[in-house]
Amino acid sequence: MQAKEMKILNRRGIEEIERIVERNYGAKLNLDCYVVLIVGVEKKIWLASREILKIELEKLSINSIGFYFGKLKRNDKIHLSTEGSQIVGRFAKKNIVELGEESAENFMKGMDVKNMSRIDCEPHNFVLVRSGKDFLGCSLLTENELQNLLPKSRRILT
């Protein structure tokens, strides 16, 4: 994250993110407790605690602020990070796939998955991946399978 590429969203910008999240996952989020940052041309969204505004950020050589929430995509879609999926998942009503234990293990290894139950899913959209109480991340659902978009750093490689 380069500080010069980073923009702090105002209330209107935040409402737009909340609207996109609700449209895609049926989750009513209130991001008021966060500073919402949008970074770079890729439109990556980062969330940070509001208290970070207490310090003079311009005096620091900043590498990152808070955590990565997700990336805005074309057609008002949003690809969430694992942490983003855990925050949104608690309130989500649609675009969720549920995996059994074996499929969840395969998903965490970085494999595409076919065996799943779908909860109000639109094909060719990003879906939240759930196994029991755990939200494992967010990946792309096609007609037949869940394409694994779990970042390498979060995969369980044996």
Binding site: S49, E51, N63, G66, F67, D134, F135, S153, R154, I156
Partner: protein, 290 residues
Amino acid sequence: MMDANRYKRIYGRGIKREIKYWTVRVNTLKISSDELENRFEKKNYEFEKLDWVDGFVIKTNENLSKTIEHSLGYFFLQNPSSMIPPLIINAKEDDVILDLCASPGAKTTQMAVMMGNKGVIVANDIAYNRLKALRGNIQRNGISCAVVTKMEGTGFWKSGLRFDKILLDAPCTGTGTMNPRILKQTSMGGIRKLSRLQKQLLISAEKCLNKNGVIIYSTCSLEPEENEENMDFAVRNLGLHIEKIDMEIPNSMKALTEWEGSKYDDSVANSVRIIPDNIMEGFFICKLRK
């Protein structure tokens, strides 16, 4: 190669460490201790709960860094000794804390958990690889109150920012881990070089500290040159005061006041050495006030 007799003189007895256990700290921002305990029970791990922190000592052949719970950020693999400095700094909601040498972020994330993800932690480091590890751990643990900075620790004071609480977990030889490779590679020359860097970091930390503020200095080194000698330097040259640590620390002893002909300030004895064993790493912790 470090000589076992040197450690016998420091601790008054022989020390040994055999790593047989995993130790984890629960990330209560994501899961409760009870819930994680249930998961460990279901996996048939042999474990014990730590009674002074949300953590577990686990005996299993499974690699815990390759479990779903670890990937999802439900726990942090962290030695119990390293969980103590954040408890001593007593991180609270609304604190603004500088973590001067933060990577890989075990203590940064622990402080953020104690703060309920409120307040601010400026988590600083300098090397690219170390920052990558720090950012990865902040992400996995869902820490929103950390600002990661890439600045020279010895020159951080030039930013002009001042803090009431500073954690200086200084880069060190790591002999407290008692890893045979580290013990073999460590030389007196290396210890001296790190000791000089640690003093420079102390100078920088003192300049960043508000009046009446606190620095918690820690290392996972057994070497007096990286520990007591530097605390003596902080008292005599930087005007800092060493305070007694108000916490019962397991497996600990008072710091040394003399080493190889050098006599340290009496207050250095208020610092604490954690004696290495099969669970705890050797550690040194000191609470300095301006």
